[in-house]
Every structure is written in C-alpha cells, then in structure tokens.
Amino acid sequence: MAKQHVTTTVNGDQVEFLCTTEQTLLDVLRDELYLTGSKEGCASGDCGACSVMLDGRLVCACLVLGAEAEGRKVETIEGMAKGDVLHPLQQKFLEHAALQCGICTPGVLIAAKALLEKKPDPTETEVRYWLAGNLCRCTGYDKIVRAVMDAAAVMRTA
C-alpha cells in the first residue's frame, strides 16, 4: 500500500514517519514511533486515554489521521517531565494517590495540563467538566480532582 510521508514535531523533536491514510495519529505514535504512553481505550473518542496536544489544542489522537500531523506540533505524555523534574501535575498525582491502575493517567495528565494552561484557577466543577472526556474506572475521580486542584495552587504560586 502506498504510504504518506509525514514530517512533524513530537515533544519538540522533528520526526518523520510513513503511514497509510487510515492510520490514526495514535496508531502512528504507538506503532511507528513507539511512544506507547498514549493509550487506546476505545478508538472512538469516548475515553480520552489517547489525549495529546496538537498545535496547542487538546485532542484524542485516535480521532486524528497520522497524515494530518504534517507540519504540526504534537505533545504527548513522554514530553511532560523536563529531564528528571516531574511536572507539578505528575508530582501531585503521585502525592494524592490519584491513580490506581494507571492506564488513564497519561491522558488525564495531558488534559489537566491543557486546562491549567488555559485556566490557572479552576473550580472543582470546571475541573470535573473539563475532564469528563477522560474515563477512569478505578479512582471514582475524587483524588484526581484533588490532585489537579492542588497542582493548580502550586503552579499559581510558582
């Protein structure tokens, strides 16, 4: 099958890959670039486990074609920590035990980061509605919401 040649930026690095039209950005990240931090929970945009940033917008990588990444900027969970310094959200998720199995965690972290960049002081309700597209079956969301609020507080004073 003929493949598209795509040049894009992932976590600040220029990368190139070949993909067929039906391969999604998620397929490409996981199976071509081996960035398996973004997870496939549904492949229909309902679970948010594949949340990534595309040109600064929060999207589900399963609903973007790999070919659409041409010339764009993609940010994934693998780029969230800087060197050995965790992002405050990552740190707070650990402190608050905001994960159990951890499968939804990368997507939730990417989504929460997008929220705090847009809204540094969200209310609990805003956090809950913003994260409504990130399903978590383990935690009941309580500790996730607390971790996001606490990280927001820390980031505001930083």
């Binding site: 039209t21 945009g45 589900c60 609903l63 973007v64 074609l65 070919a67 597209g133």
Partner: protein
Amino acid sequence: MRSAIRRMEQSAISRHNAQIDQEEKALEMDYRTPGTASEAAALLAANDGAFVLAGGTDLLVKLRAGFVAPRIVVDLKQIPRLRGIEHDARGWRIGAATACAEIGEHAAFLAAWPGVVEGLQLIGSTQIQGRATLGGNLCNASPAADSVPALIAAGAVCEVAGEGSEREVPVECIITGPGRTSLARGEFIMGFRLPDPQPRSGDAYLRFIPRTEMDIAVVGVGVALVLDAQGLCTHARVGLGAVAPTPLLVAEAAKALIGTRVDDAALKALAAAASAACKPIDDKRGTIAYRIKVAGVLARRSAKNALDRATKK
C-alpha cells in the same frame, strides 16, 4: 502426482494473490489537502467514494468500525475560507471547519449568540471540542446533532460551495434524513452566516442526556426569541433535535410564544407544541414517550433561558 497438485495449488494461490493485489489497490485510500474551495469541489466531484474530512470526530469512528470505506479523504482544513470567525456588515461568518473550541473562546460571538455556543460546546468532550466543527456536525446528518437546533433557531444560513457554484441554504434544509443531506455531489459547506442579534433578543439551547457529559442528545431544544420594548415576543424560532429523522424547525412552537410575554401559559403552550411536533423512535437512548415528554420540558426551560437573556439585553 503430489507435486502436480502442489503446483496447481500454488498457481491457484498466486492467481488469488494477484486478484488480492488488485483489490488492495482498489481499497487503497488516498488523502488530499486541497488549498482552495474549487480544488476541493473538483476532487469531490471527480471521485466516487470521496469523503470530506473536517474535524474527523465522526468520520474516523466510522472508518475504524468499518461503516465506511472511502477511496479518497478530502481534508478541507487547509482551505483558508473554511477557518475562522469573522464579523462584517452582514453579521457573523463562521468557517465550516473551525474547531468548536475556537468558537467557544470567541467572546464577542458568545455574547451575540450564547445559545448557539451552548449547543456547539455540548458536542463531545473537551478533546472532541478541539476537533469537531459546525460543518461536520451538520453534514454528519445525525438527528441528534447538538449544534443544529440552536443554529436553526438562530436562523443560520450555510454557504454551500460546489464545482463552479456557490449558494446559500438555511441550516434546516441541509439534513434530509439520518446520514443524508441535500448537498449535491461535489458540494460542501464553507461557512455559516448568522445575523447580528436584534435588540432585546436572546437564544438558548438545552439538551437531555443520561449523564452530565459525553452522551448523544436524547432530546435537544434551541430557542431564539425577540422582545419588543413592552416585553412582548415579536419573533421566535424553535429548533428540535433527536425527536424525528431530522432536526426540526417547529413553527407551531414559535407561534405559541409570538405575541405573548413568554409567561407560564405561553410556555405551557410551547411545551405542548414541541411535544406534538415530535416523531421519535424507541432506541438505546430513549423511548418515544420519554422523548415526547422531555421535549416539552426542555422547550419550556430553554425558552426561559432565552427570555432571561433577552430581558438583560
């Protein structure tokens, strides 16, 4: 003998594989990013099995589920006229491939048409908002599309581009049935036109879903209304979603409001008219009886919200 059989099998298999090669070629899916509307129209007109890609939030799901098998995917997002929000002498223009998140962030448009923004912001999660578009939401032609009832109520008009043609079509004339539109081969939507809202006007959209987010509307109601200086309703439009094969513009429901102060009696008449207009089905998202009843409830609540906004303007 045995090797003869093997040769026969081999040749059958290679014939089969040759056929598969051809099928594979036939199945190959092309991806195009036209830079102009005319280029896009030409691609869509010239190719069987050409599918438009805007936000992709419906197309990619159908693709993965095997419901559609496009030969060519035409990504419209590189066409400048399909992106962005503008204001001019005629009012508002929204590019059909503008992400809903972008529209929701536009303060002036939100102030002008809060009900339209309410509707489009209910399309999926934050992640979906980053991709979903008004053009896509309309052309996916779901009876339950969340942006459509409010657009209908607002009197929005689509700019439809085709090969060498452009025409304007009211939103309520696009969807002709579940998954079907009135667009001709080669046609697509470039943008949406909304007038500047009149003084003392307000619009609102409410939908019912079982959860608080992430569901498809069981019922959706958009209401837009205008009051005169005395507080009498002079103009109203009511759009209903998910209660019939297509979203509906319900004239009877509007009539229930026009000439009234949108008081309890008028709201009751509105609810009855909205319920009477429903021709729903029983499905996994709701029953006929439930949809009919809740359509009335939401019409009333939505009209109250629109009234509040009109009174404040």
